[in-house]
Symmetry: C2
Subunit: 297 residues, 2 copies
């Protein structure tokens, strides 16, 4: 954690991730202004000392670094550029808008270009590590954009994450997050299929997980979410529907680049099955149910 | 490492894995007899103090624990049961045959039954961790079979591995190894696709790997073999053709059990592409070439 009282931070989008990340900015000593579409989510942060803005524009007027954490590409474009009282209509020269959402890489180009017209910067900076990482300030943050903007925003990013990586120019952060979601999605399916094979063979599942996790076939998902598959604990860390959204973004990016990605396509399909079967608001480990439902399990 | 001079160990199959595992048995103080189809591979172990047997039967006559490490189901059945001078024709009452090969789970049933007729035990005990794990004695060993046989063999297994897991009755070790190979195979494909997307997007590949490895989408493969994909280093730790063989065993087991495993099926297909394209004797990281060849990369 770092303290830099000179940087005034704004935070737009106080969902599970955003509210914990904003809280960590406050704890690190940054003067904080927050905005959320539904006002009641601002209450805990207001009580902790944050100012509450009436619009993204008003928030931007009061901020040197404007963090955004919303859901879809349209949400980012709306709150930063297109809506009445969007960030761009209040943003200060020299300010930097940092988007933590997971959206299409092309969003970064438009935001960077239009904010540059106001002498403001833009970084795409999606995060990995779930609600636990957001609360504990241990997120992995993947950043695309201008190096100088990255350096200036770093004290704020360091209040929210542990591994902060500058991945390249605008869009590189969004792209790396999609790479991350391809890996995470396939690792979950691998874990689900390993459990199905072991289960159908009558093998002790916890022994299987212990043996596989400890070797060259181990993954974070196998260590952390596979035991929840075995236990039927589908409480969400990260929603099936969000993983599906991200895998669909990866498929769109792959389409635009003419890059065939058969594993990512399979992962998207299996997560779409899980969602269609009613698991959209369960945790991603519920993809195990989609694998099970393919057969007689 | 443990020392137990009372257990006489035999080791059949001195490939890359077997020779290193046998060496560790010798280092741990076990009197060792070895056998290999091609005699010259026994030389380094003979020089280090091992006896060399003329046949599996002769080796079995001199051993309390008979370790086997060969390639295919037919090889195990031949050397343990079916060949002239197979292990079974020399095995001592009370001895235990421990097979470290990765083969079909059904092999364990036949070996267990036929060896029981000679008052000998059988454990299926395939390993994970590659040539490095074999040399350093840090393998993960997944064991199926009788608990009492497991306990008696444990000092020998501890000379070769670090994580030794009793997974259930006969065949459970083989099955868990197939679960392991499903995970490892899919993790390699995930890494390859993440690299392809990042590469086509112009993103710095080492930054991508660093960011993804450190979060919830991390895996052993991503940390250890993905950098070799990026560097074009296809020197084998584990052959593409062996991974393909193991994924095919998983597909056969899934077929016999009527368990649909779409990810494992995709992994088998992609590894078959890599093999068909001439990468069979490259390391498994060469599956990246099969993903690349799907498009224009």
């Amino acid at each position: 954690m770092t303290t830099d009282g000179d940087i005034r931070v704004g935070f737009i989008g106080l969902g599970i991730m955003g509210s914990a990340m904003a809280e960590n900015c406050l704890q690190a000593g940054f003067p904080l202004t927050v905005y959320n579409r539904t006002l009641d989510k601002t209450k805990p942060l207001r009580q902790a000392g944050a100012a509450v803005a009436d619009s993204p524009a008003e928030l931007a007027e009061a901020s040197d670094v404007v963090c955004v954490c919303v859901t879809a590409s349209e949400d980012v474009l709306s709150v930063v550029l297109d809506a009445e009282n969007a960030v761009i209509s209040g943003v200060r020269p020299g300010a930097i808008v940092v988007d933590h959402s997971t959206v299409a890489p092309s969003v970064a180009g438009r935001c960077t270009k239009e904010l540059a017209g106001k002498q403001a910067g833009f970084l795409d900076a999606p995060v990995s590590g779930g609600d636990v990482g957001a609360r504990e300030g241990t997120l992995s943050i993947m950043v695309g954009g201008d190096r100088e903007h990255f350096d200036r925003s770093l004290p704020v990013l360091e209040a929210m994450g542990k591994t902060i990586t500058h991945c390249g120019g605008h869009g590189a952060g969004y792209t790396v997050k999609l790479c991350n979601q391809i890996c995470g999605g396939l690792h979950l399916i691998a874990a689900a299929e390993a459990i199905r094979l072991a289960e159908a063979s009558g093998v002790d599942l916890s022994a299987m997980l212990k043996a596989v996790s400890s070797g060259a076939a181990g993954s974070w998902m196998l260590s952390n979410l596979a035991p929840k598959m075995v236990g039927g604990d589908y409480r969400p860390g990260f929603f099936v529907d969000y993983q599906l959204k991200d895998l669909h973004l990866a498929a769109q990016a792959a389409h635009e680049l003419s890059v065939p990605l058969p594993g990512a396509a399979l992962a998207e399909t299996v997560f779409r099955c899980a969602s269609a079967q009613g698991h959209g608001r369960d945790g991603t480990q519920a993809v195990y149910e989609a694998i099970r439902r393919l057969g007689n399990g």
